[in-house]
Symmetry: C2
């Protein structure tokens, strides 16, 4: 009836259904401009609904300008409403390739979440949600929740020897947002970002997306080669000095000093990514470049590895001359972090529960690292060389005279083994083809041992 099929079980009201049916007819040209609609009495009889329902539908059509009405005359379709629809292009559906399930998942940067103190965290969340006030529900400072900044400042002092003024600490949605925001904020026409090679793709992608130039600094076993910085105009240098990602080295003091000198002379900032230095298994945590000279260093930390990734809280220590700009970009990027988890985290940090959790996990990760190294020794006769410092959640291993190319990685994957090569994080050269990257933080002893045995088999089958 009038092309209208009512569905009385539908979540949509009957008036809305009538409205939608007419609208569709108008937009597709089945009803054209000037066409009269049935009277409300007529349509209500035909459809078996109340006249009020029809009036409501007509009111909706009128309000949005689909029909025009005149006292005593029928409602008519307004002018200029027909749309010729094109067939929508659809995104290519990624074909669901049937893959072997991953059994040994040596992915980097994965904390062992089965040991996260969930009950303590629940308690913090419950306290936070019980406490939070009407004031906490509204928009607040893009800088972040003040008690959380205070708790982080004290925690940095006791855990890393960093003296950071509370007013310099800015909360972010994880380190990822910090890098994104810093790239947007620091990019300058004609100046490049200098990144380590190899390095994590996050900041590289942000730099490329903003169409800024990249200068690569080659990573050596004990540092980075700063020669590439000598003549180029630089916007910022990005580095992972406490535990180079992915190779694991510690940036030596002479290079740190060199970077600070250059930053000052040539007017750029150093972005210091401290993604997992809590987990050092031999000796004290490495102190950051920030502690050497805070005026040119933007220190970025995260709780993704110490608590859990889906928390999405990190922080950046921003030098005072950049703070106004930072607030601007954070405000227009997402206004602020959600409040509830900031309150809970401030409790977790200020009550020092985080210290105890990190101490526990440090022992556990150290054991896992040793299990991995033992498994390597037990399985491989030829020497396999671990790179870098004994810290973090992953290990870079050099297998001299081997080449781990894409085919190798895929053949591991086909047997349920997920590994990555250092080469995958590198650019422009092939010097890291003989190194594999194994994340072990989240794996059980059995998974590590089995996985390395499988790795050995695959390597043995490699054509040499």
């Amino acid at each position: 009836m009038w092309g209208i099929a009512l569905d009385r079980k539908c979540e949509m009201t009957l008036a809305r259904q009538i409205f939608s049916a007419f609208r569709e007819q108008i937009l597709t040209g089945k009803l054209i401009q000037g066409d009269a609609l049935p009277s409300t009495r007529e349509l209500s009889n035909d459809l078996g609904v109340s006249r009020n329902t029809v009036s409501e539908a007509y009111e909706m059509l009128w309000t949005e300008g689909f029909i025009v009405t005149q006292q005593g005359a029928p409602s008519r379709v307004a002018d200029g409403l027909m749309i010729t629809r094109k067939i929508t292009e659809t995104a290519q559906q990624s074909k669901a390739v049937k893959q072997v399930p991953i059994k040994w998942y040596f992915k980097t940067g994965q904390p062992d979440l089965s040991l996260f103190p969930k009950n303590q965290w629940r308690q913090m969340i419950r306290e936070a949600v019980d406490e939070f006030s009407v004031q906490d529900l509204t928009y607040s400072d893009p800088k972040g929740y003040a008690p959380l900044c205070e708790a982080i400042s004290k925690w940095l002092l006791r855990s890393r020897n960093m003296q950071v003024p509370v007013e310099d600490i800015f909360i972010t949605a994880g380190a990822t947002q910090a890098f994104f925001l810093l790239v947007e904020m620091l990019q300058q026409e004609g100046r490049a970002f200098a990144l380590e090679n190899p390095s994590h793709p996050a900041i590289r992608t942000a730099v490329s997306d903003f169409k800024s130039k990249i200068i690569w600094m080659t990573v050596t076993p004990n540092g980075i080669d700063t020669n590439a910085l000598k003549d180029a105009p630089i916007a910022a240098v990005y580095t992972t000095p406490s535990h180079q990602f992915p190779l694991g080295g510690i940036l030596q003091a002479s290079t740190r000093t060199e970077l600070i000198r250059l930053a000052s002379e040539r007017d750029f900032y150093i972005i210091e990514d401290d993604y997992d230095s809590e987990y050092r298994y031999r000796g004290a945590p490495i102190s950051p470049i920030y502690a050497m000279d805070s005026s040119r260093v933007i220190y970025v930390g995260t709780f993704s590895k110490t608590l859990f990734p889906a928390l999405r809280i990190g922080f950046a220590v921003i030098p005072k001359p950049l703070q106004t700009k930072w607030r601007h970009f954070k405000k227009y990027m997402d206004v602020q972090n959600p409040i509830l988890e900031q309150i809970a985290l401030s409790k977790f940090v200020s009550s020092r529960k985080i210290d105890k959790h990190i101490r526990n996990m440090r022992r556990i990760y150290a054991d896992k690292r040793q299990i991995l190294l033992n498994a390597i020794t037990a399985n491989f006769e030829d020497p396999v060389l671990p790179w870098g410092d004994a810290s973090g959640l992953h290990l870079a291993l050099q297998f001299p005279n081997h080449v781990f190319d894409k085919a190798f990685i895929e053949s591991c994957r086909a047997q349920g083994l997920f590994v990555q090569s250092v080469q995958q994080y590198s650019t422009n050269d092939l010097q890291h083809q003989d190194k594999l990257l194994l994340g072990y933080g989240h794996l059980s002893a059995t998974e590590i041992k089995e996985g390395i045995a499988v790795l050995k088999e695959i390597i043995q089958q490699m054509p040499s």
Copy 2:
């Protein structure tokens, strides 16, 4: 002793304090390259600490490359470590101007948070935190928590007549992030973003920060003037069709159709910002442009006005051809939203608690709006014209023959009254100088009545 003052009450370990003291001396040139450090025995005696403590400090200095050691010889300062520090420029401290406290805060876009069902929300959070699994703690899809996308899809159908496939719904950190991300994603060399004039500064700022061009579309009482779109290459059109911000009009169907036609012919997208259409006080909610043709429309919604701003959850409905790009940018912007509040919100929406809350608030906001209109009638003899549709949390009022300039706004502020003029949201012309913008959602009846009485006094004192 050796320039080292130990503080045994400090949070920093003694070893760290020794390390820091030497490092500072090296960096500032008090100890220079080749200088010998005291032996561990010597220093431990002098400082009255254990020899292990000193060894630990030296180990830290060695690890980071500040000193070199040789069997049987004293530890010496490594080469090239001195930094000449410049005096750091500090951000200009904003002078704390002493301001009169605001008593009547007619800011736009503020929901009444005192009526937010906090206990229900607490319950949802408690359930979420009790339920969440190890899997929920790790990184997940940048698209957002799947049950939340499903809940939103059903809610859009029952509340707005929108049929949105679950796979097209993407969770954001509020509408702000959606706009930022869309601007980054849709910007194209040589193409402009078309925005309404007047409009909210959020998207305008994002467009300017990305250095894209802006084309202004003049807002008329019943729509927008699309003439400016005729010849210019367009990246996207941004519009608030259900309740123009700030003037309050409903975009008529003919203009909607025109926009859809142009978008298809000229290959651009329409960004539809539906920031508060839940709150319509007369008749059914306005249906979105998206419902007319979903292939060219990116619909953006938020829970900031219906739940609370510090939740930081919104969503965007993304056409399939753009979804890969969206995932990329969301991933490198902040990976994903935090998980806990997504779980809680999915419960709040799917249990339809949100429907009940919105129904309650709609009645309350309608009353407040009427109180505001009555107060205007009671206080002003000359006609004051309300603009736009009876909906939302704010009202644009035209006072013919008045000019509300910066001096007027400041003189209100000096008397504890916060109001804004429509002109503040406008650009390039002075046609909105006679209109004030009053947000009323969060105010009590008393605050509204008192505030309007104060407004009347200030207007009467204006030089005419």
